[in-house]
């Protein structure tokens, strides 16, 4: 059951129809049953991979936050944390990376010893496992750090892990944000329903009209990149927008659906392609994931690297910089690997790690240079150049991300030529217009409440306009039943 399917529409209408009639104290049970049904509908075999770890983690967290150790006894909190994280991540690590690790070892081994071969086990991979495993880890660490109280209600915690709008592709909400919302008594609020529905419609538009349409051009260029010249460059640009519309479209639907049920989910995207640096890009792209990486991977790693270095500088470089680079490279390596067991994702992550590290090292010198080249009144020129460079760096990394192998990614970049291709020009221009229209619409959509003209429009006209928007979405949607890209991560 994917969000852009009729099955989901029926499922959600039924869930919503009864939700507000159920007494508050039983709503968690209703939503938990709905979430398990939603997840099991995809593949019932995967349900134990969701249910069992969430209850284990619940008990481990309770153990971890038990009474403080008596004098003389050893503190066990850290041990429970390790046990908890292992429990939360074990299914993810085993099911997702066994073939990858064993295959890579066999591949390296076969260079030295002939005849080494690994037959992949092709283990089942429960959809959304990467997302809900990370939710459990964040909860455990937050409880350990005492940033969040331990949840005593097993049902509430199980619902936090399995909440159906977020289970397949996030946002990776924090327990500290989600659980208070669950406990809060929420009454039927038509404004929230309307606002949620509007966001759902916008998400469907992004996915089915923009992303799926761009996918036609992108798939063609990535499948046969030979001799396509400038089309390849635009193929990479369009992929950047495809993945953005696909993923942020999913997020909009998830947030909209949550809002209709009275939950406020965290923001996941904030005009990432208008970023003036890679650092800014990661503050605006998949925010729930990037903040997760920052809080639970980058900062602990960076501090772990910096701690043993007593001096302020090592080999002439600041200790802080060492910490930043080591933390960033390892975080982005794992962040890339999180997307899937493939070297393309690892390289994609490392590329971003390098971008960020170089950005950090050259921050001061770049600032000086910018001051020299662009006087204050030409700040906008600098901003445009910075946005353009950042977008190109991100798109270059997307090529690796989208390619089936490193070799294919290399060939793709190699074939890019600054000449117009004989074929595919019509589609290129069409997609370019589509992207421009989308950017303008996104700007208007995100700022619609600030536009004074919008406020003056009578409600009837707004309602009619929204009806027209839905009809146009149906007409221009690409009917391919494409899954969301982030489902496989």
């Amino acid at each position: 059951m994917i969000f852009n399917s009729i099955d989901f529409v029926i499922f959600f209408c039924i869930v919503l129809a009864f939700y507000f009639f159920i007494p508050h104290r039983f709503r968690w049970l209703y939503l938990l049953a709905a979430s398990y049904f939603f997840y099991g509908y995809w593949n019932p075999v995967c349900l134990p991979f969701l249910v069992i770890p969430s209850f284990l983690v619940y008990f481990i967290a309770i153990k971890m936050s038990g009474p403080p150790p008596t004098p003389g006894s050893k503190p066990k909190r850290k041990k429970w944390l390790v046990v908890g994280i292992t429990t939360a991540l074990s299914a993810l690590v085993v099911l997702r990376y066994t073939d990858f690790v064993a295959g890579s070892i066999a591949g390296i081994g076969s260079i030295f010893i002939k005849g080494i071969h690994y037959n992949p086990l092709n283990l089942i991979f429960p959809i959304g496992l990467s997302f809900y495993s990370f939710k459990m880890v964040s909860y455990l660490v937050d409880v350990y750090r005492e940033n969040a109280p331990v949840e005593k209600h097993a049902g509430y915690f199980a619902l936090y892990v399995s909440f159906f709008p977020q289970i397949f592709s996030g946002p990776i909400d924090r327990a500290v944000n989600f659980l208070p919302g669950l406990k809060k008594r929420v009454s039927f609020d038509i404004d929230e329903i309307v606002s949620g529905f509007r966001q759902v419609a916008w998400g469907v538009f992004k996915k089915m009209v923009i992303a799926d349409r761009l996918a036609i051009f992108v798939n063609a260029t990535f499948q046969e990149p030979g001799h396509k010249g400038l089309n390849l460059l635009f193929g990479a640009y369009f992929y950047a927008f495809q993945i953005y519309c696909d993923f942020s479209g999913y997020t909009d639907i998830a947030i909209g659906v949550s809002r209709m049920l009275g939950f406020q989910s965290m923001k996941n995207f904030d005009f990432p392609y208008f970023s003036k640096s890679i650092t800014q890009f990661w503050n605006r792209w998949h925010i729930s994931f990037s903040t997760w990486l920052r809080d639970y991977l980058f900062l602990p790693t960076a501090y772990a690297v910096m701690r043993p270095i007593k001096a302020a500088r090592l080999y002439g470089i600041k200790t802080e910089t060492w910490g930043y680079i080591a933390g960033m490279l390892s975080t982005m390596f794992l962040g890339g690997l999180w997307h899937g067991p493939s070297w393309t994702f690892v390289v994609w992550g490392l590329m971003h790690g390098i971008y960020l590290s170089v950005g950090h090292i050259t921050k001061k010198s770049r600032k000086k240079l910018v001051k020299k080249i662009f006087p204050a009144k030409f700040k906008w020129v600098h901003d445009m150049v910075a946005i353009f460079i950042t977008f190109n760096l991100v798109s270059l990394a997307w090529i690796v991300f989208r390619s089936d192998s490193i070799e294919k990614a290399y060939n793709y970049v190699k074939y890019i030529q600054f000449r117009f291709s004989d074929t595919g020009m019509v589609h290129l221009v069409f997609n370019l217009i589509l992207v421009i229209i989308f950017i303008l619409m996104e700007i208007v959509y995100k700022n619609i409440e600030k536009i004074s003209f919008y406020k003056r429009i009578p409600l009837a006209v707004k309602i009619a306009g929204f009806a027209l928007f839905i009809c146009l979405t149906i007409i221009f949607a690409v009917d391919t039943s494409n899954e969301f890209i982030y489902f496989k991560f």
């Binding site: 009454s187 839905i470 149906i474």
Partner: protein, 332 residues
């Protein structure tokens, strides 16, 4: 009772009215856009001179055989091979996007200019009852108003009901910017090109040879389906005209035959249909006894999980040899 519901009742009336107004707007916008699209579609697909071009071509030769079918027949049955073997002139009207309804109308026009054929070869597919003739082809013969096309009050949202046709129109509009030539503009096969087509070469990337652990199979879609009534109507008319009808089941790449899991039921149905007519003959080449279905060189595409499969150039040569042997007696 839950207090939150009382809150709803208090504001309820206003919001119910808004909801009704929204639904009304949705239906009105849908109808208005649909009428616009339909009118544009009729104009866009207009092929004013199709009948004249067809007439010119039909009069250029004395055709005694008419070939009907979908893209499977387009790739699989070749007039030039039949001409070579049996010295019979065949006119082929088989390509993607046409079904029994189109064939029925086409036959009326064909008769007008080429007379009644001696033999009609009809490539019957497993999915014959799910095929719907595309509007761009139907518009050659039938001018429908948006009401007739969709049943104006039959469904809440016409844009969802007609999504497939709208998608085709959008794609054709994009394609139309590519070429000025009308035939290409409409992505429709030109009359002459259909007759001359020799088939394509086998492409291993489009074939699934290895049987996966799991794959989706396809049951036989029962008649009448989309256009089954027209199939019967056409057979009735051909019998009345005294035409010999040869129903040909073209070979599938083996995996596709397995995927179409009720193929025997389909054959049973075709043979049962045959018993209603004196001059309808059935030839089934979709079996390992009659055709090397496992040889990838004979197929363009198909395999496990793929319900559709087309013959390659080589496959077509082999099929047409067998077909000509079976056809021979019908020309005596």
């Amino acid at each position: 009772m839950n207090l939150s519901i009382l809150n709803f009742n208090f504001k309820g009336r206003k919001y119910v009215l808004r909801l009704l107004f929204f639904l009304l707007c949705l239906v009105v916008c849908d109808r208005v856009l649909y009428i616009g699209i339909s009118s544009f579609e009729s104009h866009f697909y207009q092929e004013g001179d199709f009948e004249a071009r067809l007439a010119r071509y039909l009069k250029s030769k004395k055709f005694n055989t008419l070939i009907f079918g979908t893209s499977r027949t387009y790739e699989g049955i070749q007039p030039f091979l039949i001409k070579k073997k049996l010295n019979q002139d065949c006119f082929k009207e088989a390509h993607q996007g046409v079904g029994p309804r189109y064939n029925y109308y086409f036959y009326q026009v064909y008769k007008k200019y080429a007379g009644i054929p001696k033999v009609v070869i009809y490539g019957v597919d497993y999915f014959i009852y799910t095929v719907e003739s595309e509007r761009k082809y139907m518009s050659r013969f039938v001018k429908e108003s948006p009401w007739e096309k969709a049943g104006f009050f039959s469904t809440p949202l016409l844009s969802i009901e007609n999504k497939k046709n709208i998608d085709l129109l959008v794609n054709n509009i994009i394609e139309s910017f590519k070429e000025k030539d009308e035939a290409v503009r409409l992505q429709s096969k030109d009359i002459e090109e259909i007759q001359k087509h020799e088939g394509g070469n086998s492409d291993p990337s489009r074939l699934i040879e290895k049987r996966p652990l799991k794959f989706k199979t396809q049951g036989f879609p029962l008649p009448p389906g989309q256009e089954g009534d027209y199939f019967v109507k056409l057979l009735d008319e051909l019998q009345n005209d005294g035409v010999t009808v040869v129903l040909v089941c073209l070979p599938d790449f083996y995996g596709s035959l397995v995927t179409n899991e009720e193929h025997s039921l389909f054959m049973e149905h075709i043979r049962e249909l045959q018993t209603n007519y004196l001059s309808v003959y059935v030839y089934n080449y979709n079996s390992l006894k009659r055709f090397p279905l496992k040889n990838p060189a004979y197929f363009l595409d198909g395999g496990y999980g793929m319900t559709n499969s087309h013959l390659s150039k080589e496959g077509a040569v082999l099929l047409n040899e067998s077909l000509c042997k079976d056809l021979e007696k019908h020309y005596r």
